[in-house]
């Protein structure tokens, strides 16, 4: 399968919006998935990155961890009045008891000074056609559909 240059691409879906994202490592795929979502929300090239926020999520499986990660980023942007530009995974690991956990950092700008760059709203991250898989050759890929 062709890999898009920036590691993510938008999927066509009649009612909603979806993305596919890729990465040489799981961490990179999670970062690309976040960036793909940020680009649905805003023209990230026009955004500042002066505000830094740390976040941590856990889930019983990798696909659910992906949903948690994206949901947490949406929640934090709404709660703090921010628009995200980029996100990095600090650590991502599978524990013995609690399943998967991820620590990350996101950078963005205040919503009020970024209105010109806004593209749309995401109401929710769905489990519909949710996929995380390691492809032959070791590359990771995922698919997420949003309710917009």
């Amino acid at each position: 399968m062709r890999v898009p240059e920036n590691g993510h691409e938008q999927l066509e879906h009649t009612a909603d919006a979806g993305i596919r994202a890729f990465g040489g490592s799981l961490e990179e795929m999670f970062e690309n998935a976040a960036e793909g979502m940020f680009r649905l929300l805003a023209d990230t090239g026009a955004l500042g990155e002066g505000i830094e926020v740390g976040l941590e999520v856990t889930a019983p499986s990798l696909p659910e961890l992906l949903v948690e990660w994206l949901e947490e980023l949406l929640y934090l942007s709404e709660r703090r009045g921010l628009v995200w530009k980029k996100a990095k995974v600090v650590s991502l690991e599978e524990g013995l008891e609690e399943g998967w956990s991820l620590r990350g950092t996101a950078w963005g700008a205040p919503l009020e000074s970024s209105r010109e760059a806004l593209r749309g709203e995401i109401k929710g991250v769905t489990y519909h056609q949710l996929e995380v898989e390691k492809e032959r050759g070791g590359r990771w890929g995922c698919r997420v559909i949003y309710d917009v």
Binding site: A15, A17, G120
Partner: protein, 482 residues
């Protein structure tokens, strides 16, 4: 890979997906469409989703698709599923993220000629008074306790704060307050996301339109207080961040509990739980909170609209005849009694992108409308028109009293943005005499008329199938888009 399920024609507008189309179906699929709408539905994966929904435990009679059906996530948009009996489940995905998203129509005593020359002022006043767009806070600052009161008490709780009109209550679904709301079943996050958002339009496909009645189809219009040339206001919004979070929380909780209840589903987004289980009853209590919040939100928006008209026309809103025609949602799961194979049953009717369409014989219909049926308000797209319809006895027999909810998308949002620019669209609409004020130009392009199915056709098919009857057609004069 796309696999279109087999379809059998039952009548001009009714198609059936047989029970043996796929293993696991508990009921057949029933699609209301003409050949053209069916072709559009076959173009995406909506029919496959009708089949998936037919696998839900306790589903009765059929997994149904209204004429505006399109591909959703889990459930199709335009889907109706009623569950009942011992196995009955409730599914948050069958309601959607925007719980109790809906439409209300406010009359005015003004005619087109009274408004035309003042439209610029009116739109500017409405734009200044109605909070819209992403992350925009409402004009009411509610604390936790006040938000809880709205969740429990709906519109009457807002009236107690001095916002809204008492006489609106009779014309709001459930009299403005859904029973069974329990704020303790709503997460802290959902609270946080809802607190600042009562009386805000939001973004996406939500809008406020000043419209004129441009065609009347039957005498029912008189009963509903509508006549040709009359100016009305349509408001389309929902439960905002609160509803989104309630859906998020309960899809997660139910998808993790499904195994415990022995429920196997073809799509995880169909996550559901038995109606009487802790997950099921907690969801219904939380959903009612979000629904009450949505009703109060639309009442708040109506207050700002009335204020905008008062400011523009220097006359009180009562003097301007700004009474509520009706408020009805198109994303809900409701407990209703219906006949199933000749036997009355208590059902949970999921309508996701579908509108309740009851005849006047049902007690839920406001007394002044009993002779014509419950008003069904169908928002169209910006460039064309919207419809007022009424519910029918046939809808009760065919679709658990349900009909379409709008035109339904035919083009994805990203396709729309590639094909149409927001500023060009705005110019085009203005050439047609429709003024537009939008939070973002990209958001405007997503909602371009080309991105939607033909609402005339959708409502004609609803009428042909007997699901609802057209009463009036409304043309936009000014659009305020979130």
């Amino acid at each position: 890979m796309k696999a279109t399920p087999p379809l059998q024609k039952r009548s001009e507008y009714v198609w059936e997906i047989p029970l043996d189309a796929r293993a696991g179906m508990r009921v057949p699929g029933r699609v209301f469409a003409d050949a053209e709408l069916l072709r559009l539905a076959e173009g995406d994966r909506a029919l496959e989703q009708v089949v998936n929904v037919a696998c839900l435990p306790g589903i009765q009679e059929a997994s149904m698709a209204m004429p505006d059906i399109h591909w959703g996530y889990g459930f199709p948009i335009g889907g109706v599923a009623a569950t009942g009996g011992g196995e009955a489940v409730v599914s948050p995905g069958g309601v959607g993220y925007d719980i109790c998203c809906g439409v209300r129509l406010v009359r005015t005593a003004l005619g087109e000629e009274d408004v035309r020359g003042r439209m610029g002022d009116l739109l500017a006043n409405l734009a200044a008074l109605v909070p819209k767009g992403l992350g925009v806070k409402g004009r009411m600052r509610l604390g936790r306790r006040e938000t809880e009161e709205i969740m429990r008490g709906g519109v009457p709780a807002l009236l107690a704060r001095g916002v809204g009109w008492e006489e609106d209550l009779e014309f709001i679904e459930e009299g403005g307050v859904f029973p069974g709301a329990d704020p303790s079943k709503v997460s802290e996050r959902a609270f946080e996301r809802g607190m600042d958002q009562v009386g805000t339009l939001g973004s996406g496909n939500h809008f406020l339109e000043v419209q004129k009645v441009d065609k009347v189809y039957s005498g029912a219009a008189r009963v509903l207080g509508l006549e040709e040339g009359q100016v009305v206001v349509m408001i389309h919004s929902g439960s905002r961040g609160l509803g989104h979070q309630v859906c998020t929380d309960y899809v997660k909780r139910m998808s993790r509990a499904a195994e415990r209840y022995g429920i196997q589903l073809p799509d995880r987004q169909l996550a559901c739980a038995p109606v009487g289980s802790p997950e099921g009853s907690d969801y219904l209590a939380a959903m009612a909170c979000a629904a009450n919040f949505a009703l109060a939100n639309r009442e708040g928006l109506t207050e700002w609209v009335r204020e905008g008209f008062e400011k523009t026309f220097r006359c009180g809103a009562r003097g301007l005849g700004m009474t509520l025609l009706y408020d009805i949602s198109h994303n809900l799961a409701k407990r209703e009694r219906h006949l199933v194979c000749g036997r009355e049953m208590e059902l949970v009717v999921h309508r996701k992108g579908a509108t309740r369409s009851f005849p006047g014989s049902r007690p839920e219909v406001p007394a002044p409308y009993r002779e014509v049926g419950q008003p069904v308000i169908i928002p169209g797209d910006m460039g064309s028109c919207s419809f007022v319809m009424v519910g029918t006895e046939e809808a009760l027999a065919l679709s658990f009293g349900s009909t379409c909810h709008g035109a339904g998308r035919s083009m994805s949002r990203s396709q729309a943005k590639k094909k149409i620019s927001g500023s060009e669209l705005r110019r085009r609409l203005e050439e047609e005499g429709i003024l537009v004020e939008a939070a973002t130009m990209a958001g405007l392009a997503e909602e371009a008329p080309e991105a939607y199915k033909d609402v005339e056709r959708v409502t004609a098919v609803c009428e042909g199938a007997g699901l609802s009857l057209r009463v009036a057609r409304l043309r936009p004069m000014a659009v305020l888009k979130g």
